[in-house]
């Protein structure tokens, strides 16, 4: 997976991914965003079509801009376990794990997925640039950090018909892959049964220069299965339905935050189960242990809000008086027919105190603002859960 060694001028502004031309050709919305310096679609056609395609058909999303780092060497396991809060020694080879990592104060630096190839080789996939942090983490250990962000390319294939689509594309070897399995399905083509949708789906990884051909191969098999290319907006809706948090939205990556006390710990985000105190030292462990003893400052919670007006950014009140939090991500869920959101509440609200909480939603009707105070209730499980997302082998369609 080597990059072409030709010397080029450094491109200015956002740059295309290897899939950009294909997406540009089918884009009617022409709605693009800057994702890690790459041109990335917000919407290619319409959000509604793309959203329903994720929940009913198959969708392709370009994840080339994700940051990918390889951690390789005799101490690779030690380094990854020093980095993340969960115990990666319990992750088997050929498995992927969702993970969080913290600074010395136990504040989240970023979250992402850890791909375990073997005890001596891992890939970390995340939103934020992490190269220098990984170098610091690996300092003194026998492990190499390789920035594969521009050598490994990926697409996310998500939706209930994706298994059938892969079979048609000649990739039926994914059949017995369980959620979070990782496998080299063909030489140079890695598949993980992962995604950001809470639905059946796969992420496919290959060399930067081979991703175009892979896209074409999936596209050719996709017509029958309703394949659509999608943008980030539809994806954002389904990730909220699945209860996944987003960096920069539901928490502020602490290295990027300029102001004091903007960081949040995994405990405050409700991920206690991903903090494995018993595994030995990891970054921020002592601070997190202390926080566990002294109590957290915040609770991030899944909430169901009255009415149907999306509540993104709304403030939350106790007894309609005392301001105790705000909605970090909120949508009207077309599948659940619910007004759902992730919200951050100041402790003890959200855990010890869950009654008499209200969301204040502002709505503009052609320039006229209206304020609604609606009740909220807490939801434990992901809003969207579906057996098909876990079935192995996946149900054919």
């Amino acid at each position: 997976m080597t990059k072409a060694a030709t010397k080029q001028a450094v491109p200015i502004g956002v740059i295309p991914t290897p899939l950009y031309d294909r997406m540009e050709a089918i884009s009617t919305a022409k709605s693009w965003a800057n994702w890690a310096g790459f041109i990335s679609p917000l919407v290619l056609d319409t959000v509604e079509f793309e959203y329903f395609a994720i929940r009913n058909q198959s969708t392709l999303f370009d994840i080339c801009p994700m940051h990918k780092y390889r951690i390789k060497g005799p101490d690779a396991l030690k380094v990854v376990n020093r980095l993340v809060t969960r115990d990666v020694s319990k992750l088997r080879d050929g498995r992927v794990g969702y993970a969080m990592w913290c600074d010395e104060e136990g504040m989240l630096i970023d979250d992402g997925t850890v791909f375990r190839y073997s005890e001596t080789e891992f890939m970390l996939c995340c939103q934020e640039t992490m190269y220098s942090w990984l170098l610091d983490t690996a300092w003194g250990f026998d492990a190499e950090i390789i920035d594969d962000s521009h050598t490994v390319a990926g697409v996310s294939l998500q939706g209930p018909t994706t298994f059938s689509l892969l079979k048609d594309a000649g990739l039926d070897a994914v059949e017995d892959m369980k959620p979070f399995d990782l496998r080299e399905i063909e030489p140079g083509l890695w598949v993980s049964r992962t995604g950001f949708t809470g639905d059946l789906g796969y992420e496919l990884w290959t060399a930067w220069n081979d991703i175009g051909a892979l896209w074409d191969r999936l596209w050719a098999a996709g017509g029958h299965w309703g394949l659509r290319a999608i943008g980030a907006e539809a994806l954002n809706m389904v990730r909220i339905e699945a209860g996944f948090i987003a960096a920069g939205v539901d928490f502020q990556p602490v290295h990027a935050a300029m102001r004091l006390n903007r960081g949040r710990s995994p405990l405050e985000l409700g991920f206690d189960k991903l903090v494995h105190f018993e595994k030995g030292h990891f970054n921020g462990r002592r601070a997190l242990l202390k926080q566990q003893q002294d109590g957290v400052r915040y609770h991030l919670a899944k909430i169901d809000i009255g009415g149907f007006k999306p509540a993104d950014g709304s403030l939350i009140y106790h007894r309609k008086k005392r301001e105790v939090g705000h909605v970090t991500s909120g949508i009207w869920s077309p599948t659940m027919k619910q007004n759902i959101a992730l919200a951050e509440l100041k402790a003890p609200y959200g855990k010890a105190i869950t009654d008499d909480l209200w969301v204040e939603i502002y709505v503009s009707e052609e320039g006229q603002w209206d304020k609604r105070i609606v009740p909220l209730t807490f939801v434990d499980k992901p809003f969207f859960q579906n057996a098909r997302s876990r079935a192995t082998p996946p149900n054919p369609f």
Binding site: K78, D103, E104, D136, T137, N283, R286
Partner: protein
């Protein structure tokens, strides 16, 4: 491997700080073992034999900062008896300047024109230094919410919060303190007096041991640090070696076990707590606490980097510790003479630092890893105070050479070593005619040699540069300032910890107190 014994506390390093920590803990009834890698206790403060019948101060040679509280607690009061030594700042024209306490004279007894300016400035610096000195016997104060950035310390207001007793100083003094504390000594001194041997002496004292020249920021703080216990210079009977032996005796008397000849290779950690140590020879010793006077980096590696947060490891890795001081010991057939100096002055501290300007220039070569051409020198002839240190009427001249690179271009080959010796001998000979013909033996320890001998990173005087980014609440590094060294039961107790180096006994004593306070042993 043998599990030979169990102690409440193991102290790594038998320098005076390790010994002070051990004695303090043993006096409180704890079982303590001191492990020293080399074959003798004392660290940088020990004496070394130079041939038959000669005992020379191997590295440190003058007592100027022993903390009275430590001396009292450990019964070392005798070291502070006897009168302090005069300091003579040598001048090429023979008008040497002699300083004794607040008094400044020329060597012939005539009054020095800047005596009042000197007395006034020194009195004020001593006052400020006294306040910093009070801080030194405590764990560095905590700031609410933590002192998270250098920027915060850089803000002078930050220092005001460091528990300094404002009321004791009054508003005017406080303002003056905040004005000068982070500035450079060159400006401070030359605002008050013309350049010359007196200004040179003050500047030399402000830079000694650190990788700075008098124009570097923070040198006023360093001067205050030096004046923390008054700034008087002493040579106890038996020389510096007697100081080391006194610390050793205090530890032994308090019931500590002292072991030499094999260093600590590893600190065992289980469930985030110290459980024991392993010596280089494989011996295992179980213990509940480890106090280390080895450098932060070495200590971190002994315990395992995996037990330290990434940020802590990064800060420790990036600590500034470039040693710039070399040591030259000469064995002389007869006592050297300097024209116009009395016997008492000859037996005192002799400085080659004829002006602030020359002190600044002395710093230049080291920046480029070049050998010094006219370095600042602090010399003392201990045999004039205690003739028993050398047999047969011979003498020892001990010289601390400020501003010698850790590793010069070309490395420390014989030619480079000889060049440093020749340069310093020639500088001394300019004042001590015939000196070179009386030299029986010359022994040079470069910063690199000192590092090899003691493990101090860079051979640094203070084990870590005393700079505004590495003092008080950020010594040795931000986040690890209260002697506690990340792992439960692991503490730093050497010069790299607060308040810093010199023979003070303070880091060792404070670290022991912190351990007791934290209740690790209860």
């Amino acid at each position: 491997m043998t599990n030979s014994s169990t102690y409440d506390v193991v102290v790594i390093g038998g320098g005076h700080n390790g010994l002070a920590a051990a004695a303090t803990l043993a006096k409180k009834g704890k079982s303590v073992c001191v492990i020293e890698k080399s074959d003798a206790m004392g660290g940088m403060a020990r004496n070394v034999a130079m041939g038959e019948g000669v005992s020379a101060p191997q590295i440190a040679h003058l007592l100027h900062n022993l903390n009275p509280k430590v001396a009292k607690e450990l019964g070392l009061g005798d070291l502070l008896k006897g009168s302090p030594l005069p300091t003579t700042s040598l001048s090429a024209d023979g008008n040497h300047v002699v300083v004794e306490g607040a008094m400044v004279r020329f060597a012939d007894g005539t009054t020095h024109p800047d005596v009042n300016a000197y007395a006034k400035q020194t009195a004020q610096l001593r006052k400020f230094a006294g306040l910093l000195g009070q801080l030194s016997t405590k764990s560095p104060p905590k700031l609410d919410g933590g002192l998270t950035s250098m920027a915060a310390l850089g803000e002078l207001a930050g220092l005001a919060k460091l528990g300094l007793n404002v009321k004791m100083m009054g508003k005017k003094d406080m303002r003056e303190f905040l004005r000068v504390v982070l500035t450079n000594v060159y400006d401070l001194v030359l605002d008050e007096m013309p350049d010359g041997p007196l200004a040179g002496m003050i500047c030399a004292d402000a830079v000694r041991g650190n990788y700075v020249g008098p124009r570097s920021p923070g040198t006023v703080f360093n001067l205050m640090y030096r004046l923390g216990t008054g700034g008087e210079v002493r040579m106890p009977k038996g020389g510096m070696g007697a100081v080391a032996r006194a610390f050793e005796a205090a530890a032994t008397k308090a019931g500590c076990d002292l072991r030499t000849g094999s260093g600590v290779a590893r600190v065992n950690v289980e469930a985030d707590k110290v459980t024991g140590i392993v010596l280089e020879d494989g011996t295992e010793i179980a213990t509940r606490a480890v106090l280390s006077s080895a450098a932060p980096m070495a200590t971190m590696k002994m315990a395992g980097i995996e037990h330290f947060d990434v940020e802590a490891a990064r800060r420790i890795k990036n600590m500034r510790c470039k040693g710039t001081v070399a040591k030259l010991n000469l064995v002389l057939k007869s006592a050297p003479q300097i024209e116009g100096l009395s016997a008492a002055q000859m037996a005192g501290r002799l400085l080659i630092a004829p002006s602030a300007e020359t002190v600044e220039r002395s710093f230049n070569p080291v920046k480029y890893n070049e050998l010094p051409t006219a370095p600042v020198v602090e010399a003392v002839i201990p045999t004039l105070s205690d003739p028993e240190l050398a047999s047969g009427g011979r003498h020892i001249l001990s010289a601390v050479i400020q501003h010698v690179p850790h590793t010069p271009t070309g490395g420390w080959n014989d030619a480079n070593r000889q060049q440093v010796i020749d340069t310093v001998v020639a500088q001394l000979e300019a004042h001590m005619p015939g000196l070179s013909s009386t030299i029986e033996e010359a022994q040079l320890l470069t910063p690199s040699d000192i590092e090899d001998l003691t493990g101090a990173p860079g051979g640094h005087w203070h084990h870590a540069e005393m700079g505004v980014d590495q003092i008080l609440t950020v010594r040795p590094v931000n986040g690890l300032a209260h002697y506690r060294f990340a792992v439960g039961g692991l503490y730093l107790c050497g010069a790299a910890a607060h308040p810093g180096g010199d023979v003070t006994g303070v880091p060792g004593r404070n670290s022991a107190m912190q351990l007791l306070k934290d209740g690790v042993l209860s």
